[in-house]
């Protein structure tokens, strides 16, 4: 008889051990339980297959074993979340006992990681919030808001916001639709924004409001060593707003019209937003401008919760004086909301027009899939409008949602220039 070689012999022994082991265990179990006075019946399990089949199943079980281990870890993880409520415990740990104040983590691919502090029902029964986000030091974003919901202080809702933003690696490619990717350069933009917003709902569908802002912008040399600095390529004469600090006071009115069947997962209805603001330069730069934003998204159920939405929008910055619009105030496409296949600020000009078609479909109760196609183009003037040189991107992703909207979203967007992975985790806390 041919002698089994090394690994085969070991496998054979392992099979035998694993086959015989359970029966040995059951015998051991029996012996420890045996108690003649109580006459415990013999522990016996009728096998559903022969020993030969058990041995034949062994290789498959060996492959399955690591998968099983991974699933066990996953199962216990989910169980810890669902049954042992570790998120709730974690949340409670980050919240004061009266539930009024707390801290929460934040994460998305736009702003990086961060934290959110909140304190409800504080000054004049207002709710305070402080968001601090860091997308890799020294990129920083701090937003403080103090808000009073409808009727708490005034008939509508009132919000005071103060924001400091430091973005040391902002990209600039040039102005217009035909700027090359290779022309990328970078600059540092530091913003301080103070804002008051008053919003009045006239019905469940319509809300109108006004906002008043003070915005200070400082532009300096960028900190990306791989790219040239914007101020080394341009001067104030060739790029408006490059050399000066800009200070603006803005007043705006806005209108929001929303008639959606399910706000968290709309299948029918429309959501529109219009805003008209006057941005007055309060220093000597004479960069005053008018800003008009109009976006409308129509939802249409194709069949059985399969929904198509069409979004059309435009954003214009029109100079009021002779000095033009500073480049950082230009309308732009690219980023995490418009033409997601391009980086933020990829195309800039005085106006942009864009359209997005999204098709979303249910995968599971709280999980949707979606695919989208987006197109858009910057224009210098409305009379330049044409269908040439439009940029487009397409992609798809998954979205976990609850009745209030998306909780987690991950998507891949592809343009002629790159493939981008974007995620957004709204903790749902």
């Amino acid at each position: 008889m041919k002698r089994l070689s090394g690994w085969n012999a070991r496998l054979m022994w392992l099979s035998l051990v694993l086959t015989v082991w359970p029966s040995t265990l059951s015998l051991a179990h029996e012996s420890t339980k045996s108690d003649s006075s109580r006459a415990v019946p013999r522990r016996r399990i009728i096998a559903h297959r022969s020993t030969g089949e058990e041995v034949a199943a062994f290789p498959g079980m060996l492959v399955y074993l690591p998968i099983h281990g991974a699933f066990l870890a996953l199962e216990y993880g989910v169980s810890a979340i669902w049954e042992d409520r570790i998120f709730d415990r974690y949340k409670a740990w980050l919240t004061t006992t009266d539930g009024r104040a707390g801290v929460r983590p934040l994460a998305n691919s736009t702003s990086g990681a961060g934290i959110r502090f909140f304190h409800r029902d504080m000054m004049l029964k207002g709710d305070a919030r402080l968001l601090a986000r860091w997308g890799g030091w020294p990129r920083q974003d701090y937003l403080f808001t103090l808000s009073w919901p409808d009727g708490r202080l005034v008939p509508g809702s009132l919000t005071f916001a103060g924001q400091y933003r430091n973005r040391p690696k902002e990209l600039f490619y040039g102005i217009g639709p035909n700027v090359l990717k290779s022309s990328a350069n970078d600059f540092l933009q530091e913003d301080i924004l103070v804002q008051f917003i008053y919003r009045q709902r006239s019905s469940r569908v319509v809300a109108v409001g006004v906002d008043a802002n003070y915005h200070s912008v400082d532009i300096r040399s960028g900190q990306n060593p791989a790219l040239p600095n914007t101020d080394s390529l341009f001067t104030e004469k060739t790029l408006t707003g490059l050399a000066n600090r800009g200070d603006f006071a803005e007043g705006a009115v806005f209108l929001r019209v929303q008639f959606l069947d399910h706000p968290g997962y709309p299948t029918r209805g429309n959501l529109s937003f219009f805003r008209l603001g006057y941005n007055r330069s309060v220093d000597d730069d004479a960069f005053s401008n008018l800003r008009l934003t109009a976006i409308s998204e129509q939802f249409l159920e194709l069949f059985y919760d399969r929904v198509v939405s069409l979004r059309l929008g435009t954003d214009w910055t029109v100079p009021v004086g002779d000095s033009g619009v500073p480049f950082y105030g230009l309308a732009s496409i690219g980023g995490e909301e418009l033409l997601r296949g391009f980086p933020r600020g990829r195309f800039r000009d005085r106006g942009v027009v864009f359209a997005t078609a999204t098709y979303k479909f249910p995968i599971w109760r709280v999980l949707n899939g979606f695919i989208f196609y987006e197109t858009g183009r910057p224009f210098h003037h409305p009379r330049d409008f044409s269908f040439r040189d439009w940029k487009d991107s397409l992609g798809g992703g998954l979205r976990v949602w609850d009745q209030n909207g998306p909780v987690f979203e991950v998507l891949v967007a592809r343009s002629s220039e790159q493939l981008r992975l974007i995620f957004n985790f709204n903790t749902g806390f």
């Binding site: 179990h29 339980k33 109580r38 006459a39 415990v40 019946p41 013999r42 522990r43 016996r44 399990i45 009728i46 559903h48 297959r49 089949e53 034949a56 199943a57 290789p59 498959g60 079980m61 492959v63 399955y64 998968i67 099983h68 699933f71 066990l72 996953l74 199962e75 216990y76 989910v78 169980s79 669902w82 049954e83 409520r85 709730d88 415990r89 949340k91 409670a92 069949f303 059985y304 919760d305 399969r306 098709y359 979303k360 479909f361 249910p362 995968i363 599971w364 999980l367 899939g369 695919i371």
Partner: protein, 522 residues
Amino acid sequence: METDTQAIPLPTARDPKLVLEILDKSFDYQIKQAFDLPRGARKAAGKPYEALNVDAFGEVSNSTWFTHRNGRAPMSLDAIRRGPSRMGGPDTSGVWTVVKGKSAGVTPGFTIMDAKGQRYLIKFDPPGYPELASGTEAVASRLCYAAGYHVPEYSVSYLRPDRLVLSPQATITMETGDKRAPISKRQMTEADLAALLKKANPTGQPRVRVGASRFLDGTDVGPWPYLGVRMDDANDFYSHEHRRELRGLYIISSWLNHADMKEENTLDMYDPEKRYLTHYLIDFGASMGSSSTTPSTPRRGQANSFDAKHSFVRLITLGLYVYGYEKAPLTLRYPSVGYLENDLFKPNRWKPMYPMPAFENLTRRDAFWGTNIVTSFTDEQIEAAVTTGAFSDPQAAAYLVKFLKERRDRIGRYWFARVNTLDRFEMLDGSTLRFTDLAVSRGYADARGTRYQVEALTPAGATLCKDTQDETTVRLDPAWNTHPHVVLSLVPQRQRYKARPVLVYLKPQPNGWRVIGVRRTD
């Protein structure tokens, strides 16, 4: 067959976690099956693992799991109506002493002790759907009992708020609003009882319809596992996924649309005197047209709670593939019986809440076993069971009867077209074997279009005679008794029907022949 009533020590109470169960059975168990090469090979060869706990006749014995009832001999209409009930529901002539309250969840409830000292769990119908859960539970539990399973006593009863008395030891579980510890338990007060009644009976009716389930006798040791055996029960010999009564339960559950199959809805009760476990199915409020707290939906029974296959198909087709249950309108003709539709029902495609291993191992023989039970229910028996739901609208009750009859017949037509339908083999006079064609006797096949191929074989497999006949009796030749036994191979022949033979083993006796075994080859 083994007896499973030997004395054992009190087992440790089990408390499985539902999420773990769903994940384990939906993913891990499925992958394990995929890597089980012998199992796959057997399935591919058409020889899957058959149920273990069957005798020489392919039957299960009466046990702590199952007792033959309507499937073997028709129960009287009274017996159907009575079900497992020994007390006939709580005694409504005296006071009910509340010993425990539950205000958590959509529907409140409490535990009472009636004047006879019996403890009942009292549940209210969901808001907006009077009679739905209580009626459904009473009907489904009786049919499940008549099928042979052990179930508690469920009945429709009427609570009189003025006859409720609070026990000084009563406790209540409540929602705290704190997600860290959402449920709290404390002593129950009169104010709690009043609040609970207000929630359940907002209009202050003097008599409120409730569902009552009597507490089972013995010690509750938690649910029985769906997979493997209960290691601390020495009477548990067969892995549960290989028990015929649990595999065949698929057919009964599909009939009752009892999709709420989860370990939590099973219960092992330990008898402290006889010292063994009895295995129960409990909680039938989410079956037929009810989802317990709301009417059922078209999805229920069509997809698992998390259906990996359906989700995957939607993902790869970008949602263009639409399942039938997504298209079906949610029409409620009679709110008291919930959503009852059979259009989508396919007897082999029905799905419980999550994949149940015993159901995954269902073979044709198991399906025949279950179909025999389901189709044994006559129209009159179904009507009798539905009367226990005490539906105030006769049309609603008739609609439920129609649903159950239609579904029973769909099951009969489907499975009896795929298995050998011959059964009930008995010797008439020592020399004549009689059998019953269940498809014919229950109206799923035409007797005139059916013939039977009969072949007598020696133990070595040699043919003694072969014939095709119309009759359901076979005359045995006395000359065959020179063999230690003979085998009769019987196959019904009908149009568009092909079955494998059922083998009947016959042993010669001094006064004729005796059936010593039956083997199905489906």
